[in-house]
């Protein structure tokens, strides 16, 4: 579990999901309520293009405290050689990227800083799962 601190009196929180590599990726983004199996939000998408993989978290902002973000992604490699793929998640408040307590400086990919990054080597002809959980704290 990653922990990302935000300002409860600050601007809207947004999440951006990115994939780096040549594989096809499909995801379900879930915003879990605090200590519960209830969902505050759920969206799904894929990496056909990267423009539509940005979501705003509900407002008022402070109600997102202790909620958990999950990005459940499948990475499929139909090719005949193994391939490396990165799932990169950016959590923003306004235009500021928030970093996790586990990785306070973020992870840079292609000149951009991301909040949480998972890297997988996907064997030829298989599908791998990436499933990070991120708790929003104040």
């Amino acid at each position: 579990m990653y922990h990302v601190k935000f300002d409860p009196n600050g601007q809207l929180i947004k999440i951006q999901i990115d994939y780096f590599g040549t594989l096809t990726a499909s995801y379900v983004y879930t915003l879990w309520e605090k200590n519960s199996n209830a969902k505050a939000d759920e969206k799904s998408g894929n990496n056909q293009n990267s423009q539509d993989d940005k979501y705003e978290l509900p407002s008022p902002v402070q109600q997102n405290a202790e909620r958990i973000i999950e990005v459940f992604s499948t990475l499929t490699n139909p090719d005949v050689t193994d391939s490396r793929e990165i799932v990169a998640i950016k959590i923003l408040q306004g235009n500021t990227t928030l970093f996790s307590e586990e990785d306070p400086t973020g992870v840079q990919i292609a000149g951009e800083n991301f909040s949480v990054v998972e890297e997988k080597i996907v064997q030829a002809g298989t599908t791998e799962l990436s499933d990070p959980f991120i708790k929003l704290i104040v």
């Binding site: 579990m1 499909s26 799904s44 139909p78 793929e85 002809g125």
Partner: protein, 387 residues
């Protein structure tokens, strides 16, 4: 290919088979020629269109079953570090390595960048290989290195956004949503909140994920593999350009300092689709050149081929011409070979390749009697991948 054409091909084969039998039994001259053609000409034609997947192993003359494939730059540095002893670099014994730089480096591009930028596609398909072999009888150590590049690949399904959407993304979205839904249901059944689930050991998580995956009801990898198989059937003739280079060096002992270059080889294969919507034809151009050292002098062996295919992926007819110029210390041979033939895949990678053609000896030791021939042979084709 439709039934009408298939029937014609079978008819041609039936007519041609007795001709082959006659040629084999007729007289010593023809028998000799068939044997000679098979060993030196026809085999050469097959190899020349095939850019080797791992050029270093082709140069070494062996194809090891255990190939090291480092998955990080750190692994590679560790491997290379172990070849050093007492300040000298040593030639490792019976070593084989294939590196995909695109796999060693962290990807910094998105799928859409790959679709739009040729440089990224080039890098992801680049392969570097190295291999060594020690001859215990002579004490000679061989070391080969090679590089394989794809400059153009119009049959790359990753660039085909329509195929990706209908045959991969739609299925993968459905699969991912279903897998996640069943995983969530199991979490509720077992009274696990998301925090508690995430705190489980990986083995316990895997149990839940596998149980959820079984409920999904379809095998995504199998479905996509089948879709790709169909894609290849309809895109077998797309344009493609492959290039490979290999260098072979030998040393009288295991020290890298005493190594000398013995052979340079390169292969170039160009496959061209005749026009945009064509589904039945393909032009192939192939070049193979070897510069081989013999008695401290380098000799050149060149062959260039042209082939035109007509048909479908697993049944096709072809017209072919090859120019070959082999120059070595013993003799010089210059030939021009042309043939017509058919290739049929009868089971997976087992192909029947039938061809009949004319060989013209332009120079060198080939006899003037050997001007025409008829060949039939069964072959396991070289690993010639158009996709």
């Amino acid at each position: 290919m439709n039934t009408k054409y298939s029937k014609k091909i079978i008819l041609i084969l039936v007519i041609a088979l007795p001709l082959f039998t006659l040629a084999q039994d007729d007289n010593d001259l023809k028998s000799f020629y068939i044997k000679k053609a098979k060993e030196s000409t026809v085999e050469q034609i097959r190899l020349d269109f095939s850019v080797p997947d791992i050029p270093a192993f082709k140069a070494l003359g062996n194809d090891p079953s255990n190939i090291l494939r480092p998955s990080s730059a750190k692994d590679l540095a560790f491997m290379i570090g172990s070849f050093r002893s007492s300040g000298n670099f040593l030639i490792p014994k019976n070593f084989s390595l294939e590196i995909a730089p695109g796999l060693l480096l962290k990807p910094w591009y998105r799928l859409e960048d790959y679709q739009q930028k040729a440089g990224i596609r080039f890098l992801t398909k680049l392969r570097i290989s190295a291999g060594s072999d020690a001859n215990d009888a002579t004490g000679i150590n061989s070391l080969a290195a090679g590089i394989r590049m794809t400059f153009l690949d119009k049959g790359d399904f990753r660039k085909d956004t329509t195929f990706l959407k209908t045959e991969i993304f739609d299925k993968q979205d459905k699969y991912t949503n279903a897998w996640k839904k069943y995983r969530d249901e199991i979490m509720v059944e077992r009274g696990l909140t998301p925090s508690q689930y995430d705190a489980l050991s990986q083995a316990n998580k895997d149990d839940i994920l596998n149980e959820a995956k079984e409920k999904v009801g379809f095998d995504l990898d199998l479905d996509i593999a089948n879709a790709l198989k169909e894609y290849k059937k309809t895109h077998w003739n797309e344009s493609r350009i492959d290039f490979a280079y290999a260098i072979l060096s030998k040393s009288p002992d295991s020290l890298l300092a005493k190594i000398k270059t013995e052979k340079h080889s390169f292969w170039l294969a160009i496959a061209l689709k005749p026009w945009r919507n064509n589904t039945w034809g393909q032009f192939l151009f192939g070049i193979n050149n070897n510069v081989v050292k013999n008695n401290d002098k380098f000799y050149n062996e060149f062959s260039g081929n042209f082939r035109f295919y007509v048909g479908a992926n697993r049944v096709k007819g072809f017209l072919e011409a090859q120019y070959q110029n082999l120059d070595n210390s013993a003799k010089r041979k210059e030939t021009l070979y042309s043939q017509i033939g058919i290739e049929v895949a009868i089971y997976k990678s087992i192909w029947i390749h039938f061809g009949t053609g004319v060989l013209n000896a332009l120079n060198g030791s080939a006899k003037s009697e050997l001007q025409s021939n008829l060949n039939l042979y069964l072959s396991f084709p070289e690993n010639f991948k158009l996709f």
